[in-house]
Symmetry: C2
Subunit: 573 residues, 2 copies
Amino acid sequence: MTAGLTTAQLTEKHQPTLDQALATIRSRGYWSPYPEHPKAYGADGVPGSLGAEEGHAAFEALRGKRFELDQPGTDGWTATESSPYGLELGIEYPHADVDVLLAAQRAAMPAWRDAGPRARAAVCLEILARINARTHEFAHAVMHTSGQAFMMAFQAGGPHAQDRGLEAVAYAYAAQTEAAPPEAEWVKPQGKREPLELRKAFTTVPRGIGLVIGCNTFPTWNGFPGLFASLATGNAVLVKPHPRAVLPLALTVRIAREVLRDAGFAPDLVALAAERQDEGIAKTLAVRPEIRVIDYTGSTAFGDWLETNARQAQVFTEKAGVNTVVVDSTDDYKGMLSNLAFSLSLYSGQMCTTPQNLLVPREGIATDAGHKSYDEVVADLAGAVDKLLGDDARANALLGAIVNDQVSARIDAAAQLGEVALASRTVANPDFPGATVRTPVIVKLDGAKPDAEAAYLSECFGPVAFAVAVDSTEAAVGLLRRTVREKGAMTVGAYTTSPEAERLIEEACLEECAQLSLNLTGGVYVNQTAAFSDYHGSGGNPAANAVLCDSAFVAPRFRTVEVRRPVAPAAQA
Amino acid sequence: MTAGLTTAQLTEKHQPTLDQALATIRSRGYWSPYPEHPKAYGADGVPGSLGAEEGHAAFEALRGKRFELDQPGTDGWTATESSPYGLELGIEYPHADVDVLLAAQRAAMPAWRDAGPRARAAVCLEILARINARTHEFAHAVMHTSGQAFMMAFQAGGPHAQDRGLEAVAYAYAAQTEAAPPEAEWVKPQGKREPLELRKAFTTVPRGIGLVIGCNTFPTWNGFPGLFASLATGNAVLVKPHPRAVLPLALTVRIAREVLRDAGFAPDLVALAAERQDEGIAKTLAVRPEIRVIDYTGSTAFGDWLETNARQAQVFTEKAGVNTVVVDSTDDYKGMLSNLAFSLSLYSGQMCTTPQNLLVPREGIATDAGHKSYDEVVADLAGAVDKLLGDDARANALLGAIVNDQVSARIDAAAQLGEVALASRTVANPDFPGATVRTPVIVKLDGAKPDAEAAYLSECFGPVAFAVAVDSTEAAVGLLRRTVREKGAMTVGAYTTSPEAERLIEEACLEECAQLSLNLTGGVYVNQTAAFSDYHGSGGNPAANAVLCDSAFVAPRFRTVEVRRPVAPAAQA
């Protein structure tokens, strides 16, 4: 066990990191305190961190056992995970009597509130530091719940998720300290009479308990922002993980509880609500009066349900969307194809940011390699994906595993929707024979045919791309607008060398509120966003009502209570 | 007509005011750029402002005429106001074809978005400056729609409302400029390889059209924050005034349109939606897809309806609440009584911040004038109110007029609920014989009797106070907690000399999220809040989901759209 640490010690330890985060969310350049290379961890790396073998051993030691959390109100145990790689996990998590657990969480809150924004930020940064030190362990946990390949699970589930958590702490700290000074003197002149004088004390108070409803594909990356934003603003946090991705968030909760206890706070400020198979406790929890903030990533149906029914809570949702790439022209045809091929393949397209619809003028496009017809563009893209994934080892490292059977079914169904430009291939994974590994399918659709609309105007989550032939770039922009407005989008990509086309696409994204990546041909991909610099989604179209992270994501999580009193006569003298 | 002004000129003109507002929302001391004394306006006062007689004449010139606004889509005229003072207003306002008007508003938005936060703030400050110059005219407009007495209409409807508008502009400006710089370079090291480099452009984009649903009692004070917060963040604003309080907001819309036109923007960025008697257009407007932000002050029933049904919009509401004063002890008995008497009397208790329930231990309280029994405290308070309002001229100047018949009916009904400690008196107003002027009624209730609960646990809007006998100060705090949690509260007051009681009351307000005024015995009253320093409500209890004003009130009104592109080779060289 780690020795107790005062909040003053934690504040001193973490203040430089917090200061840098505060500066970077304003400047929005590149920065991260958490190394993203696996070799940066272990004996010669981040102090106190687990190396590759230690991290793997720590993960292995969790398998087939009860995951103890020492939470109040545990009324049973539940195991609902199965690794997309076929590995038997067999980990049982405590199941909570919600009445007992929520009561304990509420009881813990006044002391956490009284600690103030700076101490809370320091405790949050200590939690993140301890999570960071165990990145190798988290990598296996994320890999074997989400199906991400190891390197992606390591980076996106590790340092990149930690970045997003830190970013949320920075926004939360800034919002609270900007809201009001702890004390103020208010002196209103009254002409020749004595001025009116009041002393005012301002306290940041929490809304209540924040509920984080985790997702299957990015349990930490999508879970940390809400968790840390709520915690840093003084709320307790109840984490309801996806039943197939409990471990990464259970580890998170355990570490958070350790740090809170070490720092002299009640560990119940962070707790886990693991559910039994098909129990559906999110619906019950979401409308409890104690729950005042909800962070959710998942289906549009349940997101809409939460927004409509959890009226007592501030609800932040990320839901389904349809991401578009407009292909107008390029001065780097090869770069465009290889960039798009990578975007479609990464984690088998199971990212909320993966492009789905590639809009290509049916007359073709101008490129540095000459004019390319619609058919040529689609065939060349299929070839680029084929080439990228030609080697099975590389394919496995990029694709990861299919997260559930519904994704596989969608791949097969998509092939019936139109002419298949690239068929999905099944790749064997020698390390994990139980894994389902599939390459993307690319289907050609005619944007002018009404019966194709149903396909390209719905989210087809997984490695499915539609190459939609459109009448012109103007038509592409029209369809882009309609798609964002009606279906939402986390990302928009575009390739063009025409200033006029660029202006049209930019204006569409500004008006429909979507984040745009232009002419990516190198090592940055439309589906990747960097904390402190890129917003994740816009919060202004149907794909999400929030971004990770901005002021609107943290400011409604707390309130400021003022106590004002006359200045005492002694103080006036 | 005023000559055209460039946004650069407006920015230069108003930057010092904006800077001071930005500093004051952080320091929360006293400040206002808008003088609150009527004599500060006119020839020798604020440059270009109307003096008392000019303002009155300007108001008189509006009576009995059509109020021209030059809005698109006017399909008729409507007159729904009647002065609580009995004055015939007879002003007809344009009625809008909403399809035409909303389309015009949308069309105006891209240029307003492109102007950027600084220019928008400057235009908003020019609107406020021109409103300020016509404060005398507004005072009559507010008086003859809300029923406020002239001095209150002048101050609360004039400079204090303008302060709240300016405060909203300052918060909006801060939130937008903090969200992101206009441009950023992002350079991610890649070890020995070339770094990844992106150029990123960030644009504040509006959510859509903001709908301001005005109230009868404080059309400008409650209307300006939402109006200016939405406008300053790039949205167009449609103002739907209360049918009995159109004029103050119609004047506001007309001035805003003038300034927008002068500054080179489409005036349709601000428009009026006056309704016909019983037309109920708020319900129709609130669910239009173009409406993305709603600001509402009014009944809990319609506020709840908006929160549940206007799912496409960010909804900010101020609803009903039950305000409590805990009376534990005091070292200034006379000061306490006169302060409370004023609070109960001001604008006949028709403020959302007026105390309703005075909780007094049935054993009595300790004071500097000796122990006072419950009966004595209530009788002495009744005496203080009687004394304050003993002179009819003074009573009229403090009470104003009853805003509608429902308030009168509540006064009469309240007298049936328990022992009347102070009966409501009807005061004649020699200037306006048609005005209904009533003094407060104070009714004694026993907090231990369940049948009294229905009375003191509902909002009884108007000059009705319940002196509730409770078992102890602890019981008072318990009832305070329950009242805030179940019914909401805009204000809480307390009188105590006991550190232990003070601690209990403070903790209750922190946990239940209510703004507390302690031991007010001088010239500051629990029902008054000052812009830049006091929050109006907490946003954390059922009385309101927002405060006027803080970051949470402005941050969700805009989004930030990022366009990222590789750094061009030329720029890299």
